[in-house]
């Protein structure tokens, strides 16, 4: 085997075989199908958001009817949560976890495949609401009872929405199972738990929370179903309150499901482009686990204004979340200080994630104080808060990972110029869109309204202009990806000088990932260890034959340790 074989090599030109892709149990196929499908949904449900913003450019209801507006925010929110960010969070795990732990595949590949088909079905079922006479669901993404019972929402849209959420919850559960089981069963020899990259840890805690959260969502959907059949049951207070508790028992953990994997992306990107090992690996892992455990006890902060919740308890538990969050930020900053930063597109997204998510986090601590929540609950302040966490945070973290792993997954390099244009436009657009929403909410703008008092007009016009910039920036992404796939330069095995195992195999990796074995695993940065030991050896022994300029990953020189490789 020669080094050139591993570096730049064009992916074999094969005709796409749909049947093969649809039935493949290779984790890379399942992962990419998941991510690709979620990105298509992202475009659809993002389009809904842009339509809403266009409508909100004027205080009076203008472009679309109130009814359509209500359908759009319901499907935008539901779509983004159930069908976009959650599947992206878990799909990244399906694609990357086996590669990062040196495994040939998933432990439960058919489970992951089933999860994918549940996701696909969920999207179709949810969107098919638009074909029914009453239109799609229009009760909001958490669809409180008794509004969503058949008494108050007789259309078929809500029925389809419930079916879709059932499927999405099942999908999330199955993805979680398959990720956890893979980590338990498939780690390469010597890949101990504390040698797993931070991204893998982020997926482990995500999947653990999935195991706890998705069943609660399924339970909530059982109540929804009951409301479709027997709405009279929901004239009492208790079942309505039960629904809220059950829903948020899912609904809060899921915000961390939609967050941790992107912390993982940012951590990997920072250390690779900072050219050093992550600082504070153990505190970060600990804080992830702590975060997951604590976040199961905070759901009541969504219910401060119900008058039927232990506000002071939930306020205290929610505020306590700032401790693990602070430890994570410590890791980010401590790694950046003393790094040697290469400002490639992935790093730019990761860097923007840090202050932007912080805005979402700090406003979240405010919302954890009941007294402040009595004003902010249900207002645009909350809309600003969760878009700063989900969009300015998670989506930016995802793009950091996307630009980072795209060459690995496709075997093609993206254009840096287009990538950076995308980054700057998206950063400007995001902050111009969501920043003023804090002020609008403070001043009394309620969420989920198609029209609003005219004193809020200026703020809303600014927000709508910002959303147009977001839309524009996405065109650069589409062109960049299209161009790279059609005639981008081929990606070498290790284009970024990476630290982790996925860069030790070809781009894209072959079936079973590591046909030529693995470098020895001695830390959470095994490839970096290997490259450093090669460099050290090169410095001492005078090599007889010239060493390739790119550090040879495998092959020439030492052989992989006997037990490595599966």
């Amino acid at each position: 085997m020669s080094t050139t074989e591993l570096s730049a090599r064009l992916p074999e030109k094969k005709r796409l075989n749909i049947a093969e892709i649809a039935t493949s149990t290779d984790h890379k196929v399942t992962g990419l199908l998941t991510l690709g499908t979620a990105l298509v949904f992202f475009a659809i449900f993002g389009g809904f958001a842009l339509t809403m913003r266009a409508d909100l450019a004027s205080p009076a209801q203008q472009l679309i009817s109130t009814h359509l507006y209500n359908e759009l925010f319901t499907l935008h929110g539901s779509g983004m949560i159930y069908l976009v960010i959650t599947p992206i969070a878990l799909g990244l795990g399906i694609y990357l976890v086996p590669l990062l732990i040196g495994a040939p595949g998933l432990a439960l590949p058919r489970t992951a495949q089933l999860a994918y088909y549940c996701l696909l079905g969920s999207g179709f079922v949810m969107l098919s609401g638009f074909l029914t006479w009453g239109g799609a669901a229009d009760t909001g993404w958490y669809s409180y009872m008794p509004l969503s019972t058949s008494l108050y929402s007789p259309g078929k849209g809500v029925d389809l929405w419930i079916g879709a959420v059932f499927l999405a919850a099942l999908s999330g559960l199955l993805y979680s199972v398959s990720i956890i089981w893979t980590v338990v069963r498939m780690r390469a020899p010597r890949m101990s738990m504390l040698r797993m990259p931070i991204f893998v840890w982020s997926e482990v805690v995500t999947a653990m929370m999935g195991l706890a959260a998705f069943p609660a969502l399924i339970g909530a959907m059982v109540l929804q179903t009951l409301g479709r059949v027997d709405p009279a049951y929901f004239t009492h207070d208790l079942p309505n309150l039960d629904y809220q508790n059950l829903f948020w028992f899912y609904g809060h953990p899921v915000v961390y499901i939609m967050f941790f994997p992107f912390v993982g992306c940012v951590a990997e990107v920072i250390q690779t482009f900072g050219q050093r090992r992550y600082v504070g690996y153990k505190p970060t892992v600990l804080s992830l686990l702590l975060f997951a455990a604590m976040s199961m006890s905070v759901w009541g902060h969504h219910m401060f204004t119900t008058g039927q919740e232990s506000n002071e308890y939930f306020s205290a538990t929610s505020t306590a979340l700032s401790v693990p969050a602070g430890l994570e930020y410590f890791g980010f900053l401590a790694t950046l200080i003393g790094a040697k930063l290469r400002f490639k597109t992935p790093l730019l997204f990761a860097l923007a994630f840090i202050p932007q998510f912080l805005v979402g986090g700090l406003s979240g601590i405010m919302l954890a104080a009941p007294t402040l929540d009595y004003q902010f609950h249900g207002s645009y302040f909350v809309v600003a808060h969760f878009h700063y966490t989900l969009f300015a945070g998670s989506v930016f973290g995802f793009f950091a990972g996307f630009y980072y792993w795209f060459p690995k997954a496709t075997g093609r390099m993206l254009s840096e110029r287009l990538g950076k244009t995308h980054f700057w436009l998206l950063t400007i657009g995001t902050n111009v869109t969501f920043g003023p929403m804090f002020a609008a909410g403070f001043l009394g703008m309620s969420r989920r309204v198609a029209h609003y008092p005219s004193y809020l007009h200026t703020l809303n016009v600014v927000e709508t202009l910002g959303s147009a910039v977001i839309g524009l920036s996405m065109l650069f992404l589409v062109v960049n990806v299209g161009q790279a796939l059609l005639h981008g330069p081929p990606a070498p095995a290790d284009p970024w000088d990476g630290h982790t195992l996925e860069w030790a195999t070809t781009s894209p990796p072959p079936l079973f990932n590591f046909p030529k074995g693995l470098p020895p695993i001695k830390s959470f940065a095994p490839l970096l260890d290997w490259k450093q030991s090669l460099r050290a050896r090169r410095a001492t022994e005078k090599p007889t034959e010239p060493v390739a300029s790119r550090p040879a990953v495998l092959g020439s020189g030492a052989r992989p340790e006997p037990e490595a490789g599966t």
Binding site: M145, S315, L336, I337, G338, H377
Partner: protein
């Protein structure tokens, strides 16, 4: 205004802390970006942990969280318990899609339809008003942004809270829990007037008989 002053008190505590934390992180970040960019040709650090700084930071975070949690709990307790017994009772009922305000002592109901007629809740200044809040159908939420206060209205359940308006005024409020097609029309007004004017208003309404 009892709720508004608690909000202002807590917000003036939280906002500067949040701004401070944000600026510290941003400044550290910008410092790192300039100082440690690859163009400077330095070698990256080999350090992988800060044995002293890490636990120290954890302690600072724990301290800050305790401080905030205690302040939040105190403000909430004060907001809920600080006023004495109610001197006037009003029942607020949300329904699809408007509000009704009922003064049980004088059997006066003010009910609007929120299309041609936005209902006004009239209250006396300086008195502690006890509200009971419920819904006739789905969950609504009574929000008066001026008061920095809102609470959800559930069918089959009463929520109780007390407000005291210190100054005369006229403010608009709205429904803040999505409740169906015309949710965004569910506006109302609150007008605070002197107790004398309030009594006169209430007597005039009562004289018109129920249902007026």
């Amino acid at each position: 205004m009892n709720t508004r002053s608690q909000f202002d008190h807590l917000f003036t505590l939280y906002a500067p802390i949040a701004a401070f934390v944000f600026l510290v992180v941003l400044a550290t970040l910008l410092f790192a970006l300039v100082r440690y960019r690859a163009g400077r040709g330095h070698e990256p650090s080999q350090k992988t942990q800060h044995k002293v700084l890490e636990p120290l930071a954890a302690l600072v975070f724990i301290g800050a969280a305790c401080f905030l949690a205690v302040n939040a709990a105190n403000a909430n307790a004060a907001e809920r318990n600080q006023l004495g017994p109610a001197q006037l009772h009003v029942r607020i009922t949300g329904f699809q899609w408007c509000w009704a305000f009922y003064y049980p002592a004088s059997h006066v109901t003010v009910r609007g339809n929120c299309t041609t007629d936005t209902p006004t809740l009239v209250v006396p200044t300086g008195k502690v008003i006890g509200f009971s809040l419920t819904s006739a159908d789905v969950v609504h939420e009574w929000w008066l942004p001026y008061a920095r206060w809102k609470e959800e209205a559930f069918p089959g359940h009463f929520n109780y809270f007390k407000l005291r308006f210190d100054h005369p005024g006229h403010w608009s409020g709205l429904c803040d829990e999505f409740c169906g097609l015309y949710h965004d029309r569910m506006d109302f007004y609150v007008r605070a007037v002197s107790p004398a004017r309030f009594d006169a208003w209430l007597a005039a309404r009562a004289a018109k008989g129920p249902g007026a």
